[in-house]
């Protein structure tokens, strides 16, 4: 099948990516945009490693066709940190030991971003329910729940909300994605281009 050049809006930057109809969003992000923070684990919807946000809602990158989210607002783990500091969830995962090998971490963090956006003070049971679709083979989950709980506290204490769409633009310039020789061709455009 022939490739189509599509514009993906990722972390408030636009990427022109040549993709085939059957390419998943996870593949397009990794190979097309060079954003390899989004992991591919099972590739079958069972582990949550590939979780990103589409228009603010969590979506499994491995079961979402890239063409289906053309023009939608995609957020990946790379878009989370501010220029000077990590997102409270990223800090909490590091501080609480919520990440060991780290492979599952981007998925857990993105799922938790969506949770804390709608529930600023989740109980441990609510956290467990929200992350039920994310699997971790290392931590045993307790420290992940600790991390999300801790991050929620931090966010409340700092009176600092989970980044809103406008705050997202204070993220550092992403270097990846400039390659155009990948299996899926991608080229990052200035943040304003194509909008």
């Amino acid at each position: 099948m022939s490739k189509t050049l599509v514009t993906l809006n990722v972390n408030d930057a636009t990427y022109e990516v040549a993709i085939k109809p059957q390419d998943t969003l996870a593949l397009a992000l990794r190979d097309g945009c060079g954003l390899t923070g989004t992991k591919i684990g099972c590739d079958m919807g069972t582990c949550g490693c590939c979780t990103v946000l589409v228009d603010g809602e969590p979506a499994l990158g491995c079961l979402t066709l890239a063409l289906e989210v053309e023009g939608r607002r995609i957020q990946t783990i790379e878009g989370l940190a501010g220029a000077e500091r990590l997102h409270p969830l990223q800090r909490a995962f590091a501080e609480c030991g919520g990440s060991q090998c780290g492979f599952c971490t981007p998925g857990f963090v993105m799922t938790s971003v969506a949770l804390l956006r709608t529930n600023k003070a989740p109980s441990r049971d609510e956290i467990k329910a929200a992350i039920a679709g994310n699997l971790c083979r290392c931590t045993g989950y307790a420290k992940i729940v600790d991390a999300v709980e801790h991050a929620a506290e931090q966010i409340r204490d700092e009176d600092d909300s989970v980044p809103t769409p406008n705050e997202m633009s204070e993220k550092p310039e992403t270097q990846a994605g400039d390659k155009d020789d990948a299996g899926i061709h991608g080229r990052r455009q200035p943040a304003t281009a194509g909008r």
């Binding site: 099948m1 085939k20 109809p21 059957q22 390419d23 998943t24 593949l27 591919i40 099972c42 590739d43 079958m44 919807g45 069972t46 949550g48 979780t51 809602e57 969590p58 979506a59 499994l60 491995c62 079961l63 979402t64 066709l65 063409l67 289906e68 799922t111 329910a129 929200a130 039920a132 679709g133 994310n134």
Partner: protein
Amino acid sequence: MMILPEFELARPRSVDEAIGVARAATDGFDYLGGGTDLLCNYKWGLNTNPTVISLRHIGELQRMADGSVGGGVTLAAIEKDADFLHDFPVFRRTLDRLASPLIRQTGTLAGNILVDTRCIWLNQSLFARKALGKCLKADGPECRVVKGSIDRCYANYSGDMAPVFMVLGGTMRLAGPDGERTLLLRDFFALDGIRRNVKQKEEIIVSLDLPSDAKTLRASYQKFRVREAWDFPELAVAASARMDGDRIEELSLVANAVASIPLWMDEIAAKYRGETLSDATIDAIAEDMRKAAKPVKATLLPPGYRKAMVGVMTARALREIRGDVVTEKQSGEAA
């Protein structure tokens, strides 16, 4: 990584346009809802087609109002609809135990009703299936579960929403090349793991609709699964009743995930209408349901155990309907 096969992706904006694309796709097509079932099957190389028609961009499939839920409405959207859950509280628990929150985020109602039947011989990679030997449902000569069966597949129906809509008297609106038709959901399924239902290939599920008197039914869905975080049902029971005091005025029962379709147990339900919903009646209904369920070895757990658990789940559903406090792990219960 699991590789998707090559296909063309169509993104129609209306039901009519989608049906038009389907009719033109003479080499074969599949509709795509949230893709959480279809794309997994495609990655396994199961019955793939060269054209995929996405229904995600069709506004008329996204409507939800007053007991009518569009086929394209996501399970997460149903979960968030306070009015719907207020009117039909049984869906709160059903959805809570259906797949994972991430799957529910994109999985749609129509996709759930049409979720493909599952089998331990089938839901494997192509590599594994080549090693194990293929089967009737995907390019093989005969069924591996019921050996010798060359014309019927016994794979397990594993959707969680259909049985609940069935016991609430739900209807389905279908649109196809010959126009629209509406049928009771209980008449939709056809007992074969390949054919599965009476839908014509080009027909699209526009909506599922609940009658307004369904709001006054008491209903319960009891699902048995191996993993609590998320899992397909190994078996489940849906029940609804209209009570007149402690007398059963109306009763509907479905045994789910013990056959290729959700089983509408009308004979058993009819036998107990008019009875008092006593412990003895509950035990009798549970025993009838247990006897009627005839699971085969298409899932992880042994069929004998699943059959026994149909009785346990029936009793739990009826106790919940009666107003007893029912938890997932009942002390003193056979399990």
